[in-house]
């Protein structure tokens, strides 16, 4: 085979692979996140834990998190001033805000005036995950149990949390088609309010 054929073959193969790769990418991003990905954010915050998608927490909470990095839920996560300022600006621009509706805005539901610092303590988050202790047949989840989002949400690193896009074997479809949101009147934290299972 001559050089020209070889080069042409190579080009064709690259083109085919390129299109295939593009297709895979498009498919993977179907439920696209609406925030801007940022390399510095992922590098700095993703060193110790999943770099949580910025639209999982209200801007006010992010500001408080960033102002307290020397005691970051018991760990020291100090950053130099320039990097901290950069990341704060990024989170302010991409975090949840009432004036900026997004796919994740439902996390703002029932938010108190002084919003919690942990994603897992947002009232809406608790409502969306109320069924997990029940399904696991435990009274209470251990602290931090729900923190590694990617254990169930396979695309957590991409900021995709749709209930239909969990790892196979997880989610409402498996749990007898129970709704992803808690029944009306459900609040977590006291025994008397545990959801009724019916007769």
């Amino acid at each position: 085979m001559g050089g020209i054929q070889r080069a042409t073959g190579g080009l064709l193969l690259s083109a085919i692979l390129g299109f295939a790769g593009y297709g895979v990418l498009v498919n993977a991003l179907e439920g696209q996140p609406q925030y801007q990905q940022d390399e510095t954010y992922v590098d700095e915050c993703g060193a110790c834990h999943l770099a949580y998608a910025p639209d999982l927490l209200p801007v006010e909470s992010w500001r408080k998190v960033m102002a307290g990095l020397e005691d970051h839920f018991g760990d020291n996560a100090e950053l130099d001033e320039a990097t901290a300022a950069y990341i704060t600006t990024y989170l302010e621009a991409n975090g949840l805000s009432r004036g900026r509706p997004s796919k994740m805005s439902r996390l703002l539901r029932g938010l108190p005036d002084d919003p919690p610092l942990r994603i897992t303590e947002l009232p809406a988050f608790e409502n969306m995950h109320y069924m997990i202790p029940r399904e696991l047949e435990v009274a209470e989840l251990a602290e931090g149990f729900l923190s590694p989002c990617a254990d169930c949400h396979k695309e957590a690193a991409l900021g995709i949390y749709d209930a239909e896009r969990l790892h196979p074997g997880y989610g409402p479809g498996v749990w007898d088609g129970k709704p992803a949101d808690a029944p009306a009147g459900f609040t977590r934290g006291s025994d008397s309010s545990s959801p009724s299972r019916g007769p």
Binding site: R6, N76, E78
Partner: protein
Amino acid sequence: MSVRSLTLGLAALGVGLALAATAFGAAPEPGALTEAVRTMLQDLERDASEPFTVPAGHRTWYRREPNGRSCTSCHGETLDVPGRHEKTGKRIEPMARSVNPERLTERREMDKWFLRNCKWTYGRECTAQEKGDILVWLSGQ
């Protein structure tokens, strides 16, 4: 330029890149100090009373605080395998340069992690002596 010479040129470039990658990817000589470590040690020497030694670094690395914390809490007892973040369980790449040559090559990273991790482990910043000892010991791992 003909297609043939272009192909040849590209092939030569590929071989060259492959060779360069092999050279850069090779495990570093044990105990060799990176440029970043060399300059950091020079800075630390000014505030240290004793010369930095490998045994002192080894002792500091494995020293356990009364609260149970140690470098090994997250980095593990063995440096050539990955560690796990004590709380989040996130994988931490091995510390040993023999298997992870990226270690100890960036001053910014070294300063950042010494600050954070010393404060978590000891509740204070590490002294220049502790950092220097750890660096010369780690460099040989």
